[in-house]
Symmetry: C2
Subunit: 483 residues, 2 copies
């Protein structure tokens, strides 16, 4: 482990993060709300801590290795998650305890969007802006993590996307490639945000709401500046704009990168994962629509179609926005959408869940097992598009899935141990490990009323989901820390 290099990066990161406290401070100035001091103080404190970490090791410029990569990625989210809670703790109105502040901050940064706050409409503008911005920053971090770092680390089968790196990655140099890719992706991310904000604004949102919701839409985050979420605007047009940008943000950003460079859209339809992603969402929308119409739960077609499509896309893509109380929808709809969130978005998108590509690989591998039973001697390759998938990738995907389920079960039991009921425990873990946001039962509206211990378990679940399980899990093994 190159401790000093890790410390240097973390110090830089904190100093950079301290700057992100300034836009909310500006918002506080504009609206004359009480958030000005907390955000300025937080900015200075975080800058100071960052500088304190950075100064003694500012010349430690080792090339980073695989292990350092795991550590940095985990520290990135945990340290920013904790320090991100600072302005919330410092704000006097409302008074937010540490656990809640860190929960809200981590839930924002991991783009989970589970909230412990209520009465969001009445919060100071600066805090309402800050929450949205946390999601946007988190989304940005995820894109870089997913596209530039995870494939190098080989987590959960993501070496599938390591086309450019021939040979094994042991001790491959991580640093140079990240910078180049990251820059291009940030431009795309920024462009999408601007387009989304403009569309919201043209559809009738105030600039404040438009920017705020654009932040949480492209991040597939789900935070809103209102308790009523997207439902607050009561506008099918705004709902559909949101759907379009959730779809775009749920697709592999490497596809957008290609679209940007080649000025073509054809490759989207040639991509297996994109087709599955859109196909799954279309199917879910149709099933939701048909069930709602059959039960007349929302009345006629006019009031049903946009809620059905919006909630299907919002939950299954793991955005977690709501236009209506979908958790009370009839028969299997809430549970079905929650299960769909386990599939989630595409790899290298801001979406959560186990990712569509892994789901497709699991299906194809399951199919191969059946063929092998019938024709024991047949050699069957699992393919994505035209390329055969390496057995090692398939093994990693299986491992990912099994670890996901096992940890899910353990965390659900832990939550029940803190006193939650079965439905709440199940859906709370589901909503956080998939980085979806809203749950069912006691946590369908917000996570404010559950106990502190349960909140910490759920924060761990958010991190697990966002860090593709193994990035975090690996730190808990003795082998990782052995020289």
């Amino acid at each position: 482990m190159h401790w000093s290099a890790v410390e240097r990066i973390l110090g830089l990161l904190l100093m950079l993060f301290s700057l992100t406290m300034l836009p909310p401070a500006v918002v506080a100035l504009i609206y004359g709300d009480p958030g000005l001091v907390p955000f300025l103080v937080s900015s200075l404190v975080i800058l100071f801590v960052g500088a304190l970490a950075w100064l003694p090791v500012r010349n430690a410029r080792h090339d980073l290795r695989t292990r350092d990569g795991f550590l940095i990625v985990v520290l990135f989210w945990t340290v920013l998650g904790i320090t991100g809670g600072l302005p919330l703790v410092l704000s006097q109105n409302p008074e937010i305890p540490w656990t809640d502040a860190v929960f809200e901050s981590l839930s924002g940064l991991t783009t989970t969007g589970s909230t412990v706050l209520t009465g969001i409409d009445d919060l100071p503008y600066s805090i309402r802006f800050y929450r949205q911005q946390l999601q946007w920053l988190g989304g940005m971090g995820i894109i870089v993590l997913a596209v530039a770092i995870l494939p190098m680390l080989g987590v959960g089968g993501m070496q599938l996307y390591r086309a450019e790196t021939p040979g094994p990655v042991k001790d491959a140099k991580l640093t140079p490639r990240i910078a180049g890719t990251a820059k291009a992706l940030w431009y795309i991310y920024l462009g999408l945000t601007i387009a989304c904000a403009t569309a919201y604004w043209l559809a009738g949102m105030t600039p404040f709401d438009a920017i705020g919701h654009a932040f949480s839409t492209v991040a597939i985050g789900g935070y809103s500046t209102y308790d009523g979420s997207i439902g607050h605007f009561d506008s099918p047009l705004i709902s559909m704009i949101c759907v379009v940008f959730m779809l775009i943000a749920g697709i592999n950003f490497a596809m957008h990168f290609t679209a940007w460079r080649s000025r073509s859209l054809r490759h989207y339809l040639q991509d297996t994962e994109t087709c599955w992603f859109l196909g799954i969402l279309a199917t879910l929308s149709a099933v939701t629509l048909i069930t709602l119409m059959a039960t007349s739960y929302l009345g006629g077609w006019g009031n049903t179609w946009h809620h059905a499509v919006f909630q299907a896309v919002s939950i299954a893509s793991t955005a977690g926005f709501t236009t209506t109380d979908f958790a009370a929808w009839p028969v299997f709809l809430p549970v079905m959408l929650l299960m769909a969130a386990f599939v989630g978005g595409c790899a290298m998108s801001t979406g959560g869940g186990i990712k569509v590509v892994r789901f497709v690989l699991l299906l194809k591998q399951g199919h191969r097992e059946i063929i092998r039973l019938i024709h024991p001697q047949a050699q069957v390759l699992v393919k994505m598009g035209r390329r055969a998938v390496d057995e090692r990738v398939i093994n990693a995907v299986w491992g990912f899935f099994a670890a996901y389920i096992a940890l899910f079960a353990l965390m659900m039991l832990a939550l029940m141990g803190t006193g939650l009921d079965q439905v709440t425990a199940f859906s709370a873990v589901a909503a956080t490990i998939t980085n979806l946001g809203p749950g069912l039962g006691q946590v369908s509206d917000h996570f404010g009323e559950i106990n502190a211990a349960a909140k910490w378990v759920l924060m761990f679940a958010m991190l697990l989901g966002r860090l593709e399980v193994f990035t975090l899990l690996v730190l808990f093994t003795p082998a990782f820390w052995r020289r």
Copy 2:
């Protein structure tokens, strides 16, 4: 497909099955209850149908191939399940509709032990005996299925146990090996049953109860001749006898086979799966005991220890007997035990679940994935005992697990579609796919009050679980039926 050979075996099977209606008829005679006519009529009808199927093809003695094996195994359970409901339908008191009769019969034969009947204490003796006998016959079928047939078919990684068959199995001859192995296993099974019945009888049960409960104990079935299950006897001694025989029946019968031939017990402790099985049950018992004591739910030590150990072993081994209303136990206990049932018994035992050996392989493979992340170039073998496990077996186990989870989710949604609530739907599928028996929520006592559609879904779940998922799934693929 050798249709005529399949038909011949099925006809023989039915004729043999018709004989199993005679013992309950004898019981009806002894106790002078109204079951005599239904069982005699059923016996004749089944004999007639069997003969009708057998006569035209009685000379069709083809060697059976792999595909025929899948078909026969599935038909074995479905046809016996359906015809096994006949005496229940024919009995006038109580009146049992077809769906319930088939559910009860299939639940017996698959050793699931979920019941739709209430007031079991007041049923005719013949029916009470018949239910227990169904489980015993089912358990016998499972042992043969698991030890002799599944390894040949290579279902769900069970080729792990195909030590004696060198080379690929395509079109391997199934017939000769089954007979020899089956005979030895039946002796062991019979011996265990006699030992168990004797122990129960010495502990105070009537001969009727002792034989009945011995039947369902060695089959890890869970049916009882009383609504109160083992709790009816209110005897810690009987509970502990039951625990001992559930443990024995939950261990790989090939281990007992070795013990019988080598007159030694040492190999049990050298077997990875047995050690894990016993270790898991010990851990669960301890956690259950500590939690119950900490919450004082059952009062002091004297009333707690035997309920704790009994329910932990009974649920986690998937027997499903109860001595108390464990579904109402505090905090996470009911859900934890239900989750433990997913691990279940050892391979080639009468226990259900995904089987301990698969669970251990999943853990080991998960651990390997973590080591690979840290040391990307390392070659890590997954071992059971001292033997490296073939990658193909590992793939099959992954496939099994993923299919299990996916089908679980689909069936849970289907149940909610029929109107069940989330907790009931979850635990009903869990209790049937693991062949456990009792669930939580609306189905913690019995399955009588849920709708008929839900019952058929659950019957499918029982079959899936009992047939190790893929044996049944493979029949739904076009590739299986293609020439």
